[in-house]
Structure formats: structure tokens, C-alpha cells
Amino acid sequence: MRIRIQLVLLGGLAITPAAVFAQGARSFRESSFVPAASGPWTGPQLPDGQPDVSGHWSNTIGNHNNLTDPQGPLGRDDEAPPAEGRQQNARKPKPRSERAPSRVSDPPDGQVPFQPWARVMQEDFLAHLNNPVKPEYVEPFARCAPGGPTKSFMWHGYEIRQFPGYVLFMFDSGNRVIYLDGRPHLPGNVKLWNGDSRGHWEGNTLVVDTTNNNSKSRLGRSGEFVSENATIQERFVFDPAGDRFTYNATYTDPTVLTRPFTVTIPNRRVTDKTPADDWNNLTFPAKHAGNEPIIEAYERICVEGNGDHGQVVASESTEGKTP
């Protein structure tokens, strides 16, 4: 059975659907938030005793353009073309005080505490982001590489599934498995895009130790990075009311940093009531005979390698047109 689309051109109604989508988007765009506090879990539980936090979620600050000023310049692509059919003035950036704080919640200055040589590397990447004349300046995310343990929470909506002994995170690009059964980490020379995670629940908080990081994904288009010696302590603090959680990740890496730093990202649940906005809510209504709304995500497969990447021409590697 194929669906036939009958389209009617009524340009004057451009405002309406934009507003409809904007409503949904606004509830997922905050400039301030109260981090959830660790404590007991009083919400629903799964049969194995885990807090039930399964479902669809999304972060409420924005994308990974800019780690330390996530709603600032680079928070939107300043070199993007004006959208046809719209007014020329895209939103003017708000003053810094009205924008979301740095995702780096510690140290208090909101900056990654780089050793001087690492700051040079980070600024070099940023300087070449829109002029990637070498392969290393093409952000790996553009090639469908996973986002990394933390940057994965700075993109589209994602899904959490829980099972006895496991918590699964499913992102657009890549998946994370948190092992709850106390098994040892993989051997240290097995380095992974999303690391190797071992966790346990403490009340409302999923405490996770993530090692074996290949750290190739960086922490934003702004270029912040750590080395493959980095270890990450993560705390996913779930508000027992069920609608929100705060992600915290403390990075320790003597190779790159002068001291550890912490990233903090607020997240909200996505439900069938969340307007589909191609960003936070990527689900579709499931087809079924019942009356209750069921939302489902379709397969999350990223396929690239079928075009140029910036100034780096496709012929430089085995990238090429798909068959």
C-alpha cells in the first residue's frame, strides 16, 4: 500500500506549522536549569529493582557546536545561508547572561582546564572547523562516527532501554551499553569511541565508570578534547518525578588537563505529547489496534562516505559514492 500525497500550496500559512514545531522545541531549549540532586528513588521500578527510566529523552540546552557557550556564537552556524522564504534576520543572539551556562560546570570559570599545548590544539581545530583543509579538521561526527560518551548527549533525542544487568543508550550515531553486573573492564589497549562502561545504581543515580576511551570524537565542534588516557566518572541523576535527569561527567586526564573537569547536561523526557520536531522528538506513532498512543523510533543507521567533506576531497580515502 502506498500513500499518495495531495499537497496544497498555501504559502501564507508558513507561520502555523513553524509555531507548532516551535512550541515543542521551546520546552527543550532552556537557558537555565536546576541540576537534579542525588537521593532516593521514589518512582516506578523495574522487576530487577532498577529505577524505571526507559524511554525517549533529549537534552534541553542545544547541540554540540560550542561546549562552553552552547547557545552562543557557533551555537548556530553563522555562515549558514538565509533560509529561502523566511525573513533575513535569524534570531539575534541573546546576551551571554541570558544564554545557557557553559556545559563545563567545574571548574567555576566554565573552561576546560587545558595544559597550554592542548589549548593550542583545541583552538587550531576550531579555527579550521569551517575550512577543513586536512582530514583531522573534519569533525568525525560528520563521517557517522559515534559522538563519544558525553557528546552523544549534546545532539538529537535518544532512547534508554533497561534490562537486568544492563542499561542501553541508543543515539543517532552509536550506542552505549552500561554493564551493571560488576564484570571487569576490557583490557586497556582496547580503545573505543564510546568507551567501556561499568555502573551501578545508588538510589536515583546511575553511577558509571567509563574507561577504554579512544577520545577521538572530541567534546564539541569547538574542539575540546581529551586523550586516550582519559577516564570518566558519570552520574546520571534522575528526578523521581520521572520527567528529567541531569547528566554529569567528570573527566580525569593528566596528559591533557591541569586538573579534572565536569560536564553537566540537563535532559527531559520525550513522550507522545512532545511535538515531533526532527530534533528532540524523532519518534513516530506506532500503528496498532489499541487506543493508547505508542511512540517508536525507527532504526538509527548513519550512512556517510558518499560525498566530499569540506575541502577534503572524497578521493583522499576510500570514501566514495555508494554503490
Binding site: 502506498r2 500513500i3 500525497i5 499537497l7 498555501l10 504559502g11 500559512l13 508558513a14 502555523t16 506549522p17 513553524a18 507548532v20 514545531f21 516551535a22 522545541a25 521551546r26 527543550f28 531549549r29 537534552n59 542545544g62 547541540n63 557546536n65 547557545q71 557557533l74 551555537g75 548556530r76 552556524d77 553563522d78 555562515e79 549558514a80 545561508p81 533560509a83 529561502e84 522564504g85 523566511r86 535569524a90 534570531r91 572547523l129 569551517n130 575550512n131 573534519v138 569533525e139 560528520a142 557517522c144 520536531d277 526532527d278 530534533w279 513516530f284 525507527y298 538509527r300 543507521i301 548513519c302 556517510e304 558518499n306 560525498g307 566530499d308 567533506h309 569540506g310 577534503v312 576531497v313
Partner: protein, 134 residues
């Protein structure tokens, strides 16, 4: 779909190449090089995070060049009821977009006009998107 009227506008916004891309627009495309191409659809790749159409474009010298046009997410189109089968090969398309910085025959598509006159253009369905995602 509740309203046919909403259809085309949401479709338009989804089709815009700058929606939900995995890469920075400015890293690959030049907003100072807008271009309009007319051609015949030779191939379509309906892949996430963005799809591609390829069109044969005849230049003034009569030479035919195959251009790649990058679009937004097929899932976004699907959400609006548009599928790959709505683009049969061989149809004529008029595509507007911005050239790749590399100079290759590749553009980031911002609008497409189908043979029946339907103009699918970027209306940006998500003005408050985090960073107006590119």
C-alpha cells in the same frame, strides 16, 4: 495527516538541506555561491542523516554533468508522509542550493521544484532548534 495544508510546508522545511545535518554547513558549502540547477533525476539515496539526489544537468556547451544535491533527513520527510517512491527516476527537477566549497559538482539543496510545479522550500520548521541545526 490531519491537514493537507500543513503538509507542503512541513515537507518544505524538512527537505531543506540545512536541517539536521551531521556536519557544519559552512565546513562544506559556501553561502556566497548560490546556484540553481535544472536536470533529470538519475539517482536518489534515501539515507540518514541526509539523503542525496543526483541530477544530470546540461551545460550551455551541451555537456552533461551529474550533480549531487544533499538534503535533510529522510526520516523528517517520512514524518510528513514523503517517501523515496515520490521521486521516480527520470523526472525533471529544478534545484536551488549552495555550492560545495571544494568546487565539486555538489550542492547543499535548499529547495526543489517538482514537475507538477510544487515548490518544496526551506521554511525552517524549527526556529528554536538548538543552534538551528546545520
Amino acid at each position: 495527516m490531519k491537514s493537507r495544508v500543513l503538509c507542503v510546508l512541513m515537507l518544505a522545511s524538512a527537505l531543506g538541506g540545512v536541517a539536521s545535518a551531521h556536519h557544519s554547513f559552512a565546513a562544506e558549502y559556501d553561502s556566497n555561491q548560490p546556484i540553481t540547477l535544472s536536470g533529470t533525476l538519475t539517482k536518489i539515496e534515501w539515507t540518514n542523516p541526509h539523503g542525496w539526489v543526483y541530477i544530470d544537468v546540461k551545460g550551455d556547451d551541451g555537456k552533461v554533468t551529474n550533480w549531487g544535491v544533499e538534503f535533510g533527513s529522510p526520516n523528517a520527510l517520512l514524518r510528513r508522509g514523503v517517501r523515496r517512491t515520490d521521486f521516480p527516476l527520470g523526472i525533471s527537477l529544478v534545484v536551488k542550493g549552495y555550492r560545495a566549497k571544494s568546487g565539486s559538482p555538489v550542492i547543499n539543496g535548499s529547495s526543489v521544484k517538482l514537475p507538477d510545479g510544487r515548490d518544496l522550500y526551506t521554511g525552517s520548521s524549527n526556529p528554536n532548534a538548538p543552534g538551528a541545526e546545520k
